[in-house]
Symmetry: C2
C-alpha cells in the first residue's frame, strides 16, 4: 500500500492511500480520516460512499465530516466509486463506467472483471483497513450520498450484523424503477431483474435493517424523480423500520446540502457506535 | 449582476454571482453566503480572501466556514483572486497573473489595466454588496489564506476603521523579502520597493491594526520559508499589537489545516462583529 498524502486535520490525520485491489483487478485509492484517539487504540469506523462522478476525494474535501468525526472519536473511510485506469471499461455517459460503479459486482462484459465494487467494499477494503489501521471492526457504520446512499443502504441491509447504523443523503432508493438504475443493472448485470438484490426499497420490504436508519433529502433536490424517495418511505412504514426520513425544506442535491446536515449524521452514528 | 447558482446551506443561501467590474475591466465572480438571519435585516460580513491558484470556489467548498457563519449569523464573501478572461494577461507560472493577483493595483504592462484587485476589494465589491444584499457595512471583518492572508492583513491595516478584526491562515507576511512577493512586486509594480505598502510586516511595524489580530500557521507548513512568519511575529511584538499568533503542531498549508481551525476564526470575528 502506498501513501499518497497525509495531512493533519482536526487533531487527527486525513490520509489518502493507493493499493492493488484483487477484487477490482486494478489499483484503487481511498481516503481515511483517523481521529487523534487512534493513538490510544482501535476506533469506530464510519464508511462514506460517494455519488456518480465522484472519486475518493469529493466528500473528503467538501462534506465537512472530519470536524464531527474528530469530536466523536470516529474514523472515516472514503472509498472510490468505481475501478479506474487505462485497461478499465468506461462509458461516454457520466452515469455508467468509471465513477459510476453502483456498488455491485458486474457479470456482463465489458464490465467484468474490474467492476466488483460490492466485493471490494464488503470484503477486501475492510480487511485492508483492519490489517493496516487502528480500526475496531466490531464498531462500523455506513453512510453515503446519492448513488453512495444506495450503496450504503444496500450494503447495510445485505450484511446483517456488519453495521450498527446506516444513513444516507439523497439516496437512490428504487433503482429497479428509475433511470438511475435500470440502465446500469441492464449493463452491469444483464437485466433489471438481476438488480433486485441491489434495490434499497425492495430490501427494506424484504428484510429491513436491524438498527437505526436516518435518511435526509432536500425538497428541492434536482434529481427528486430519479431518487424515488416515495418507495423507500412506503417500505419503511410498511415494515415499521426503526428510523427517520427527513425532508429538508429548500435544500438541493449538492454538497451544500450534505455539509449542512453532516453533523447530525455523525451524531446519529456516534450514538450507535459508542453504545 | 448575474446569479450563477444559489444553494440552500446551513439554513441560509450559498450564492455565486458574476458582474462586470469597472475596477478590473472584466467580468468577476464571487461567492456569498447569507445566513438565515439575513431575512430579518442586515448582517455582519466576513471577507475570506483566497490563495494562489484559487478562485472564488475553493474556500467556499472546502473551508467549512458556512457552518460557523450560520451559527454566528454572519455573511461570508469569497472573492476571486485575480481578474480573468481571454483578454486578461497571464503568466506560465502559478504565482503570477490569473489566480495570483496579490491584492494590489498593477502599474506595469501587461498587467494594467485589469490587475486592480485592491480597488476591486477596497471599493467596488463592498459597494456592490452594500447595494445588493442585506449586509451591514459597519460590521465587517476580514480573513484569508496564504496570499489571501497577505491580502487580509494589508487591507485591514491600510483601511483604518473598515474592519473590526482581522485574521489569517498561513499568510505571506513579508513579501518584499520573499520569493512569494519580490517577483510579483517587480512584475506588477515595477520594483520591490513599490511593494512596501503591501507588506504586512512593514505595515504592522508602521501602523498596526486597531483591533484584534489572529494568525494561525502549521508547524509543518510546506511553504514555511516563503511566509516569513518570523518577521510578522517580530513586528507584532515590537508594537505590542493586540492579537494572537498560533503555531499549530503538525499542520501543513492545506485546506485540511484551514478547516481544522475555521471555527476558531469565526468565533474570533463574531466576538468583534457583534460587540
Amino acid at each position: 500500500m502506498e501513501t499518497l498524502s497525509e495531512n493533519r486535520c482536526f487533531g487527527g490525520v486525513q490520509g489518502v492511500y493507493r493499493h492493488r485491489s484483487d477484487a477490482c483487478s486494478c489499483d484503487m485509492t481511498f481516503g481515511l480520516f483517523l481521529p487523534e484517539e487512534t493513538g490510544d487504540g482501535p476506533v469506530p469506523l464510519l464508511w462514506y460512499l460517494s455519488g456518480l462522478t465522484c472519486t475518493h476525494e469529493n466528500a473528503m474535501t467538501k462534506a465537512g465530516a472530519q470536524a464531527w468525526a474528530a469530536d466523536h472519536g470516529i474514523a472515516l473511510c472514503f472509498p472510490d466509486t468505481s475501478p479506474r485506469g487505462e485497461g478499465v471499461a468506461d462509458d461516454p455517459e457520466y452515469d455508467m463506467g468509471q465513477g459510476a460503479g453502483f456498488y455491485l459486482n458486474a457479470t456482463q462484459k465489458p464490465w467484468t472483471p474490474h467492476f466488483r465494487m460490492w466485493d471490494y467494499l464488503a470484503e477486501e477494503l475492510p480487511t485492508i483497513l483492519d490489517n493496516g489501521f487502528a480500526i475496531d471492526p466490531d464498531r462500523q457504520a455506513i453512510t453515503g450520498h446519492s448513488m453512495g446512499g444506495h450503496g450504503a443502504l444496500t450494503l447495510a441491509m445485505s450484511l446483517p450484523g456488519r453495521f450498527r447504523s446506516v444513513s444516507a443523503f439523497s439516496p437512490i432508493c428504487n433503482p429497479t424503477d428509475s433511470d438511475w438504475g435500470r440502465k446500469q443493472f441492464e449493463g452491469y448485470l444483464g437485466s433489471v431483474e438481476a438488480g433486485r438484490a441491489h434495490d434499497a426499497s425492495l430490501l427494506m420490504r424484504e428484510s429491513g435493517f436491524d438498527g437505526p436508519v436516518l435518511v435526509d433529502v432536500g425538497t428541492r433536490d434536482d434529481f427528486w424523480d430519479l431518487l424515488r424517495m416515495d418507495t423507500l418511505a412506503d417500505a419503511m412504514t410498511a415494515r415499521r423500520q426503526q428510523g427517520q426520513l427527513r425532508l429538508q425544506e429548500g435544500y438541493d442535491h449538492s454538497y451544500f446540502f450534505v455539509s449542512s446536515f453532516i453533523a447530525d449524521h455523525l451524531a446519529f452514528h456516534a450514538e450507535a457506535l459508542w453504545a
